[in-house]
Amino acid sequence: MALPQSKVDETTARIEGLTLPDGAVWANAARTSALGRLQEMGLPGRRDEYWRFTRPEGLNAVEAAPAAILKSDEPPMFDGIDRLKIVFRDGEFDAEASDELALEGLEIERLVDATSTDIHWAKEIFGALEARGQTPVARPFAALNTAFASEGIVIRATKKVSKPISLIYLHESEVSDAMLHFVIRVETGADLTVLENGPAAARFNKCMEVEIADGGAFHHVRAQGRDHERQAVTHIFAKLGAESVFKSFTLTVNGRLTRNEAVIEMTGDDGVAHIAGAALGDGDFHHDDTVFVTHDALNGESRQVFKKVLRNGAVGAFQGKILVKEGAQKTDGYQISQSLLLDEDAQFLAKPELEIYADDVACSHGSTSGAIDDGALFYLRARGIPKGIAQDLLTLSFLAEAIDEIEDEAIAADILGRLEGWLSRRRDG
């Protein structure tokens, strides 16, 4: 079916000022192919099924809308955790501020270097997982990213890596428009943790492709900064082998627009995929989690746990799908999306989907929206806890199931501290 002319025009305008990076033959081919995909599907419009809850205009626009830079009084994220730091300023790699790209059990280098090398392991993954993830649901911004992002990191873990790779995204220019692309392969028996933090830019497009071989484990924790006006669209494409583990948690506080997509495909038996998020918005905040988990193997376990705390006009959206393919018996799929609406102006939109073609599976999903429980609030206050603190405790109680998905205690404690900070800055009295 031909694209409507308006989409063609919008897509053409969007890519007009962009240049395909030049590199090795394979990389150029992957980028050209991604550009072709983008032109075929076009940028999203409000009538697209998966864009009904979120307006794509800010992401479609040729120029990024300016976003003020927040001066934080908090210590840097993950400060107390021993990690390999890689710093990007408005999407530009900062070698000075970064640690040396070397660690035992890792092959790690910049995307620009990898895509200039004729023979490279990343060839099999770069743009390939993204392309797989384009059906049945189009993800135009991911194709845009594969085509035009020149910067990023490629990481191959060959054993249990001693410390997390920490990607730090600083936002320093009010008009920056950044794209980063990451390619990650976790080999058999390897174990890798990737941390991300920071707003990255006024407008940020990030794509991460993660392939986990049989028996590999990948842990991912990110925090998307505190800047109020920034916009972000991110994708994570994960392909899981047998007995592999994928665990991802995202904290989002503030941000005018956030669209976090995750496309997870379980291709080997006995895989485990958990994806969780806690989002807190106050005012001009629109946060969208769009998740697609495919079970295409036996005995897979997947969990989606998404919690949003919304007030003062903030909007949360969740589109989560579990697809169980024929033959994916003994699948255990779980999905929960919940919002805590702190006032009557907040809004939560949810679309849970299950599509199951195997007959011996356990899949459950639930979605709720509610206010702070009066009975619980009274109980805490009757013990002498002031109303504001009691409300915050109950908000943390609401978020607990998502926070529990973070395995590492020190990282979880850091995330919890950020949540408490966000709440206490808004506490009544």
């Binding site: 009975g375 805490l380 009757a382 013990r383 002498g384 002031p386 603190i389 405790l393 943390l396 529990d404």
Partner: protein, 251 residues
Amino acid sequence: MLNINNLHVKLEEEEKQILKGVNLDVPAGQVHAIMGPNGSGKSTLSYVLSGRDGYEVTDGSATLEGEDLLEMEPEERASAGLFLAFQYPVEIPGVGNMTFLRTATNAQRKARGEEELSAADFLKQIREKAKSLKIDADMLKRPVNVGFSGGEKKRNEILQMAMLEPKMCILDETDSGLDVDAMKLVAEGVNALRSEGRSFLVITHYQRLLDHIKPDVVHIMADGKIVKTGGPELALEVENNGYADLLSEVA
């Protein structure tokens, strides 16, 4: 300690009068029991005293050591020394029992202008007190009341009471849902807290709790009022003859 004078209370949302002139004095150091049939207003009285939403005081007063309770927020009443042991303690997933108790203890101390308890002192106190109520370390770590049995929830209420050291304790049907052993344990916890400066108001349907927590005075409540006041023998009379006899006699 607690003085209730001609207290009239209706539901906020509807024209339904629940308390129709309650008069009650609980002097320092005494244990008073309120008994009465279902719907007589016993639990409403406990909620109104502790400040739950949904009730409107239309007349009368309630003071704690001369301070007007009804003007205070629930947390202010708690800091002033009022404690309600809930009939149905609330489950709070994701908030550890210890965190909850420490937040509450220190919030009250802060409100009273006292120094907050250090983590070490708090831990020492809570361990001691938990032990006598047979509350193990696991129960202290678990989220507040989540997965607790009926007996564990009530013991947890008494542990909170022991930590917060209130002056005026209201026990709202603390015996409901307890077997005999659990009731004894709870009663022992309460009795250990009895002192000259601390008063109790024990709300119950049945006399059996009062075998273990011996009251100084027993009140019978019916249709929103205290209709009869007497000694412990009044509770036995209820046990033997039921409320119907007693109420017809009063009427």
